[in-house]
Amino acid sequence: LSIRRFLRRPAAVATAAAITIGVGTAIAPSASASQSITVLITSSPSASALQSIAPAFTKQTGIHVKFVEVPYQAITTKLLLANKSGSIPYDVAQVDSPMMAPLVAAGALTPMKSFFAKYKEYKSTDFPQKVTQYTEYRGVPYTLPLSTEPYTVFYRKDIYAKLGLKPATTWAQFASNAAACKKAGYYGSDLSYSSTDAVYEWATILYSLGGRMLNSDNTKATITTPVAMQATKIYNSLIPYTPSGAINGGEVDAISIFGEQNVCTMIEGTGNWESIYSPKNSKVYGKLAMSPIPQGPTVLFGWLIGLPTKSPNPTGGAEFLAYALSPAHVSTFVSDGAPPPGRTSLLSSPKITSELPYMPVLLKTESGALHFPYIPQMPEVLIDISEQLNSIATNGESAQQGLSKAQSQVDSVLG
């Protein structure tokens, strides 16, 4: 070795060691870093309620809570991409129910059984069976309910009273109410027919008639069956009574139209009550009521929340969930205007019922509500069906043709 090379070698080793130590210091959590958690949320009343609860949690536990708010679509993508890279930088994540199966299939969510065993104060048995099943993938709980929002009928009680209408108990009655409203100069119905959201309201009709989107083992679509055709017929029969903006707009557009215009009825998740009915900015305050979906069971929706795998502080994340969603703190959701998780104790509380006038309908529908199938391909299935329903509703395609196309697309996705 030349002298220069001889001197270079230890210098290189020292440099490498310094870099390694530096990187190690940057990656390894310090004592103070482990006292913080990161929560992935998307803009919603439920997320706002979590943010309200966080300061009290920090005061009690010393764990600082950092919230990262991203658009709805980005939640799942961020989790999946981080999961692929080997570490997820979020300790808690808010997820929507159709996204739970993809996340579990990718190995991005932690099963909650040990959470239930460790945090008894969470009282996991304080939920109706359907709500518990809503949080499970193949019988294993992977999430907790952050909100419970079965689909129901929102209606304008002032217009109904004026026209002498009664909340519909059959779809025929629903359509005749819509026609009566239209005749009196109001919009009769406010379903979304958009290429992204149409499936939600169409499936609500389908489920109420006893139909399903997929067969029992989720291997084939069942959307060309007579009951699916009947659901499509009912769904499309409401188009003439629907504001044009809702037809191609998504659910968000339908909800704003319902809050802004004279629309008799809308089918939506109960959680939208507060956003439409807020005394501060609602045009329909004092004029709104809710009734169950006509004929049969409804579809259950609502935010879920879980613990991502490979997260920096899983214990801190679990502590936050146990604190925020425990029966002791869940009333904060109601006072913050967020739809609460459907705890049996909460829903039967007279105080809560008096604060949320829709609670009796929620109680009535929650116990019988069904959820969409949990399969990893569900996001694609929902878009495929929505696109065809939108085409049937707006682009002159026949129901038979559109549903057959959807059936073949979904079968190819499932296959």
Partner: protein, 321 residues
């Protein structure tokens, strides 16, 4: 000094072939014209930044795209991806019917060009006549250029909303109700229209600059020769503007082939899938269905569609030495 005749005799032998002397001299000339080693090294060193940009900014992402497109990529499946060749492409063509999206992409690009170009050209021409309040017109016309497409999409979505938007009032004045997003031709026309509103200023700026830079001598000569307005346009101005026209057209075509934000906000591909372009499909595959392999395959097809126009662009912007 060698006379031309002698030089000819030196370079050609009796059979008319180049002589050995001529060959030697031409070899020497070639060798003396060849850059020396230090010059070559310096040239390489000076172009290193450009090469780094090309490699890291273009080549590596492109190779990564090809790799993703040929591997079984899905964010939903744990574990490493394996090579599938054209499997992703086949799946994209079979499952989503990519041909439809290719046709929609081309319709949007061609219609966009046909709308943006004549209007942009006409306005640029009017501006060269120096109308009153020229500076104000210039400022107004450039406004859309500084707005983000997402903001423009949202504004137009609100304006054209058939229930809550301004469009409702405009059409109700004529006693009709039109939902622009509920029929394929109207939805496509709306996309092309909003895209034109956003990009016509770009065409104006480029063509206006080109028109101002035209050599005045040639225009004056055509006047003196008695050329009519039309003849001046047809035989003098348009040929002189040809490079600018072509480059502007190519940039617009490439941008419209890639168009995503406006379509996503205005129609999300609807009604049905009738306004779904390749960009939208690629986004859907990646961010809604989490199929990174198929998303990359669709993006690769999109790149292949855009490549001929990019090659044409390079041809026209290459400096002529």
């Amino acid at each position: 000094m060698t006379s031309p005749e002698t030089a000819q005799a030196l370079t050609v032998d009796r059979q008319g072939q180049p002589s050995a002397e001529a060959t030697r001299q031409s070899g020497l000339a070639r060798r003396s014209a060849r850059p020396t080693r230090p010059i070559v090294l310096r040239a390489i060193w000076l172009t290193v930044p450009a090469w780094l940009v090309v490699i890291f900014g273009g080549l590596i992402p492109l190779l990564e795209l090809v790799r993703m497109a040929t591997y079984s990529g899905s964010l939903l499946t744990p574990g490493p991806a394996h090579y599938v060749g054209l499997g992703n492409l086949r799946a994209a063509f079979e499952g989503q019917g990519v041909l439809h999206q290719i046709v929609v992409t081309l319709i949007v690009a061609v219609a966009g060009l046909l709308v943006q170009f004549p209007i942009g050209y006409a306005i640029a021409r009017v501006l060269t006549w120096r109308p009153r309040f020229l500076r104000i017109w210039q400022a107004i016309l450039v406004v859309p250029l500084v707005l983000t497409p997402v903001a423009i999409g949202l504004v137009w979505k609100f304006v054209l909303d058939p229930t809550l938007g301004l469009e409702r009032w405009a059409f109700s004045a004529f006693g009709v109700q039109v939902n622009l997003f509920a029929s394929t031709p109207l939805a496509l026309a709306t996309i092309v229209g909003v895209d034109a509103w956003l990009n016509i200023p770009f065409v104006i700026v480029l063509l206006y600059a080109g028109m101002l830079a035209l050599p005045q001598e040639q225009l004056e000569a055509s006047h003196l020769d008695g050329a009519s307005w039309w003849q001046e346009q047809r035989y003098v101005q348009l040929p002189l503007l040809k490079p600018v026209l072509l480059v502007t057209a190519i940039i617009r075509v490439i941008n419209d082939i890639m168009l995503f934000d406006i379509i996503y906000i205005l129609t999300s591909g609807g009604p049905g899938t009738s306004t779904e372009t390749m960009s939208l499909l690629s986004y859907q595959e990646m961010f809604q269905f989490f199929q990174s392999g198929q998303a990359a395959a669709v993006a690769l097809v999109l790149a292949l569609i855009a490549i001929p126009t990019i090659v044409m662009f390079n041809r026209f912007v290459r400096p002529r030495i």
